[in-house]
Amino acid sequence: MSRFLLFSACLLGSVQISLSQGTPEKIDLNDPNLKFVDGSVIPIPLEIFASLDKLGKQDWTKQIKDREIRLDTNRSRTAMLFGLTVSEGFIAVQAEDKDAVRRIGREVLRLASSLGVAGSVEEHANSIVNAAGKSDWSIVRSELDKSRQTVLTKMAELRDDELVDLVSLGGWLGGTKVLASVLQGNYSVEASDLLNQPELVKQLRVDFGRLPERAKRGKVFGQISKTLKHLESLMRTDIHGIISEGKVIEIALSTKSLVEAIYES
């Protein structure tokens, strides 16, 4: 067995804490010669919740809402709802709520169907429902992320790029609403920094601003623009590296109001 471990260690390759030649110690982020890669990867709520749980176990069950989703012909709204529903799924995983995950798995399929990509998502949605029945949370988590990514990929293939941005925005909004709600109920200076996301909010706001007007039809889309601008100023740590309790409450209220408006519009 020891020989096997030695062999395995050799195979794994060398692990080193070192810097390669030519690596600058500091870069000027305003240097016009720097080449940035387009396309943000939005963190999924579980990444953030995992950090929060390291400070102490949270009661995620309080954050699960059983609501009926009313669909209409507005595909932009449906894309936002898809993102929101997947984020609800991640919350249900964190709460290990089988029934909620199964319900959300079915909703994911219904929303994907409305977006015209059910065929690509069906397998993942079924896996979510089945794995929830077995309490296999790592599979549920993986299949939720796959559902989300599959829809984004299919939308891009179908040249529905504006819907890609809206799915991402919906997912981020749902996770942020819950994070702010949890922090509001149990504020701590240490945990507040999880809301320090000014560059991410800015990117989401810029992406949303670039969407064609046809993708922003409906009253709720005006509210999205205003809320993102408001959040960009709120979701920034102060000189002490914290986000105040007052700001956390404001973020919780703003995101809750917007999420409700999307569901009810």
């Binding site: 395995s8 794994l12 804490i17 990867v41 590296g241």
Partner: protein, 168 residues
Amino acid sequence: MKVRPITLLVFLSLAGVLMAPLCAQQSGGTAGQQALPDDADRPVPSEVKLIAQRAAMSALTGENPFVLRESSWSGEIAPGKARLLQLQLFKRNEYHFWMAVPDRKASVNLNIYDGKGQLVGTENISYGAGNVGGLIVTPRETGVYYLRISLQTTIESPQKWSVIYAWR
């Protein structure tokens, strides 16, 4: 000699890590295609992404595995050039990034900078061939970071690249 299932799993994972760059170079596409599903409706990962995914395998199992994200970045890069990827990282989490390019003679570098452009300490990991690299970072603060990827001038032709990441 008895071989426990977990031992076999670890061995297969490690073998995958070792073989990934080699397979990619020798197969000219077949290595990636072997793992692809028949269902044409599914998104098909690029071969270069599969190289990165194979390198990631051993970090995704065990007692405290990283959780792989489905999202990824990709593009093309010339030797001697660098690219920056904007990231939102959260304090108390650990993040593992992998970069891959197809040519086994290539040599990739990965580094992380904070929101002020300052280099951040990371654990850099090599996998036996220079066309795959990885790093682990534990951010001290929540906020924006930049992953700098670069390709050394050990080769002449531009390379398609893929970056994937996992967290725990």
